[in-house]
Amino acid sequence: MKDMLTPYVTDDGRQIGETLMDMRNITLRFGGVEAIKDISFNIQEGEIRAIIGPNGAGKSSMLNVISGFYNPQEGEVWFRGKKRPPMKPFQVARLGIARTFQNIALFEGMSVLDNVMTGRLNHMNAGLFSQALWKGRAEREETENREAVERVIDFLEIQAIRKTPVGRLPYGLKKRVELARALAAEPKLLLLDEPMAGMNVEEKEDMSRFILDVNDEFGTTIALIEHDMGVVMDLSDRVIVMDYGRKIGDGTPDEVRNNQEVIDAYLGVAHD
């Protein structure tokens, strides 16, 4: 097994850098229920990291810990070499962590363009006065932000629906718009919660291509949760397998695929 803590170059020539995020002995409880039990893992700069596991394994809870939605009772979250104190989600977003949601969370009545623009919130610094008068900094920032948003729109090939209200779009496109909004934030770490859920084969292929292209073009580090094993194995550099809140596997797709415990979890061997 490769030493995952040192930078390395993948088979296809991408540079994987230092540790971006380090989760140390995370435990998360809801009352008496332990959703996550003493899990440690890291995410390295530039890689695509997947979290998989059966329903109720604690994958989404883990993503919510990373995004600051839940604060774990035990353990430490290290981001870019610093220990991260308990934070609110908007504070985490300011650190450069953006996400998409399992059940799409867009503004249905707003256009695609406006939705993606909201992803630029953390890049807008003009004051209330300037915004209201639409002069000086506010105007300049709007232009810069629009330019960044247009690049994302071009990248994800959603030019044709730029002005369409999100509510009128089919499901697959909404997912793409959500990805666009997350990308517009220019995140260091992109969290994708089941990006392919409910998609047909063609939409899945499109989405896979976009995820790979994002990683390739912008060098964005991606952590994703996904049910579709085929997709996960093709996309990811490294995979964490969770079951009943525990980590039962961690490694390259091949290593994970041959891990007996993982096979058992997926085939449903009786738990003791």
Binding site: D12, G13, R14, R146, E147, E150, R151, I153, D154, F155, E157, Q159, A160, R162, E205, R209, L212, D213, D216, E217
Partner: protein, 649 residues
């Protein structure tokens, strides 16, 4: 033949470009919507871009006479690449961007292209797939590098990098100045309704003379605007977006992506516009569908003023006398209905609109004319550098294709086949002397392959069908399938039709329903369906098609010569005819022989007593995978109208 333009007139497209730079350096030459904004390049900037890429090609090692393939959607840089190729004495060969890898491989091998300039990863991947077979190809130049980062770049460079290379300017000038009227300007592959595509070689003479004649015929102006959205590999696009643009100096606008064409059309509002009938049909269908959803008052307003428009509009457009009252109603209608509608369609500013390629339904044609859009028809082909005949202003009708274009002579052979001779007549089929000889005779007459006749009195040409498709039925009467198919296709519910009957005692037909129109109708009538196949076999859909076929039969029966072509039995196909399955050409013309062979079980069933037939068909998905669809199709007997002869007895 007409004489050449004067001796010092530009003899090549690069020379025309230089002339435009001198005449209007600061006028926009190209626009492209990128990042939500229309970016534009003046003629001076365009010339600079073209020079930069031409120099890069020199440095890459391009020699005079090399072929350079161009594959991608309409983008300024690809047009520049074509002219840049000419500047260094190379021959641009635009290919269809949706062609399959094998089709591209065939063309690349046939012309021996050393370089290919392509749009994006999709095209790079296709070439990579066939790389082993395409031995002459040395280097691929791509525009959009997205997704290509990890590719082996030893034989691949981005367009920007080539343009930044620089090179021997003196050598480029020498090669550009050496270009004459007889040098090849471009090579275009014919879509190949039959057999392998052929490379049509067009000289600078062909392109420039045609561009000049046709620009003058329609009084094109430097201030005109066109939208370049039709395939670059098609001769029409080369003449409109390169030839005429260079001759006249008008501006070529490229859409943002394939899917934004209609929005971009609205934003640009072209003054000179070309579209195949299909585009006009689709627009009309969507207008009609949306009017169905409008409120009662709006619907009434629309219906009322469209009636006025149909009565008055064409006459106004042709400059015929119209009463004051009618003029007033039309003016009012223009404020309330036509103006806003044209604006929505992006056709507000059209001075000259053309349709060609297929017959257009009289209803559709009249609809646009009624709105005051100067839509005309032309008839042409690649071998003629587009123009054979076209309709002059004031003499526009849906059933003719117009009078001979300037410089074109026509003659009709005994079997009805149309021949022409013009300055646009192609030089040869590349590496195919045999086909060249069988198409073009020693005196320069070219066989069109179409059967038609020149109308007495008006001198307009009317086309009946492909000459080889015009046949005889068992009883010796004339069989012209296209004539009947076109009548069927004029119904919005029918997308395609294929009529059989050569050598048989009666005609039968395959019909493809139009999913947009029929699907919408189904929704309105609470008809549930889960797939194209199910909808196509729905009893009420079949009844509807029954009605259409009966009406067509009644109309065919009116024509003494073609009365035998009435449809006796038909079936509605369970899949759309598709170019990916080889049933149509890339320009969406039905390959009759292929369809007949592929579905021979269905044809046999049509000529038996069966009332239904079970069939399995192989289909190819867009990504190249194959699948099978199974269906039981019902066969319908059509109502046949009594022919004139019988009725008279």
């Amino acid at each position: 033949m007409t004489t050449d333009v004067s001796r010092d007139a530009p003899q090549s497209l690069p020379a025309l470009l230089a002339r435009n730079v001198a005449r209007f350096p600061d006028k926009p030459a190209f626009r492209e919507k990128e990042f939500g904004i229309w970016q534009s390049w003046t003629w001076a900037e365009t010339a600079k871009e073209i020079d930069a890429f031409a120099l890069g090609l020199l440095t890459l090692g391009a020699s005079e006479g090399d072929h350079i393939a161009i594959i991608g959607r309409n983008r300024p840089a690809l047009y520049w690449a074509m002219v840049a190729a000419q500047k260094v004495g190379c021959i641009p060969v635009p290919l269809y961007q949706d062609a399959a890898a094998e089709e591209i491989a065939y063309a690349l091998n046939h012309c021996g292209a050393r370089y290919a300039v392509v749009g994006d990863q999709e095209q790079v991947d296709k070439i990579a797939d066939v790389r082993a077979d395409v031995t002459a190809l040395e280097h691929v130049i791509y525009l959009d590098g997205r997704g290509l980062r990890k590719y082996d770049h030893s034989h691949m460079t981005s367009y920007a990098d080539i343009a930044a290379k620089g090179g021997d300017r003196a050598e480029m000038e020498r090669r550009t100045n050496a270009l004459t009227y007889d040098h090849t300007s471009v090579m275009l592959y014919t879509s190949g309704t039959t057999g392998r595509p052929k490379g049509v070689v067009l000289s600078n003479r062909n392109v420039i003379e045609t561009a000049k004649n046709s620009s003058e015929f329609d009084h094109l102006l430097p201030t005109d605007e066109v939208l370049a959205y039709l395939p670059m590999a098609w001769v029409g696009d080369f003449i409109f977006s390169v030839g005429q643009a260079m001759w006249t100096g008008f501006c070529v606008n490229c859409p943002e992506s394939e899917h934004t064409m209609l929005t971009d059309l609205r934003e640009i509002g072209p003054t000179y516009f070309f579209a195949p009938p299909r585009v006009f049909e689709n627009q009309l269908t969507s207008v009609m569908i949306r009017m169905e959803d409008a409120g009662r008052f709006k619907k009434w307003l629309f219906d009322h003023y469209m009636r006025v428009a149909r009565r008055v509009g064409p006459a106004l457009l042709d400059g015929k006398p119209v009463s004051f009252g009618d003029r007033l109603s039309y003016a009012l209608g223009n404020i309330l209905v036509y103006g806003p509608l044209k604006n929505t369609l992006g056709l507000s500013r059209i001075r000259i609109g053309y349709t060609a390629g297929e017959a257009i339904g009289p209803e559709i044609f009249d609809f646009y004319r009624a709105l005051g859009i100067n839509l005309k028809q032309l008839y042409g082909q690649t071998e003629a550098t587009v123009y054979i005949t076209q309709q002059p202003d004031g003499e526009v009708r849906s059933d003719t294709v117009g009078v001979p274009s300037p410089g074109v002579e026509l003659k009709i052979a005994d079997n009805g086949e149309v021949f022409y001779r013009s300055p646009g007549v192609f030089v040869e089929y590349y590496k195919n002397a045999e086909s060249t000889a069988s198409t073009k005779d020693a005196e320069g007459w070219v066989a069109t392959g179409d059967a038609g006749f020149i109308e007495e009195g008006t001198g307009h040409l009317r086309i009946i069908d492909r000459a080889k498709d015009v046949g005889k039925m068992a009883d010796g009467s004339l069989f012209a399938p296209k004539y009947v198919e076109n009548k069927l296709k004029f119904y919005p519910n029918i997308l395609e039709a294929v009529v059989f009957g050569a050598g048989r005692d009666r005609c039968c037909a395959f019909i493809n329903i139009d999913l947009t129109a029929v699907g919408n109708w189904a929704e309105r009538n609470n008809i549930a369906y889960s797939s194209y196949q199910e909808l196509s076999q729905h009893p009420r859909v079949l009844e509807m098609i029954d009605g259409h076929v009966a009406e067509v039969n009644a109309s065919v029966a009116q024509d003494e010569m073609l009365a035998g072509c009435q449809i006796h039995r038909f079936l509605v196909l369970h899949k759309e005819l598709d170019a990916d399955d080889g049933e149509m050409t890339r320009t969406r013309k039905v390959r009759r022989a292929v369809v007949g062979q592929k579905f021979d079980d269905l044809v046999n069933a049509l000529y038996s007593d069966a009332t239904e037939i079970y069939t399995e068909t192989e289909v190819t998905y867009e990504d190249g995978r194959k699948g099978k669809i199974k269906a039981t199709l019902s066969i319908r007997d059509a109502i046949v109208a009594p022919t004139m002869k019988v009725a008279a007895e």
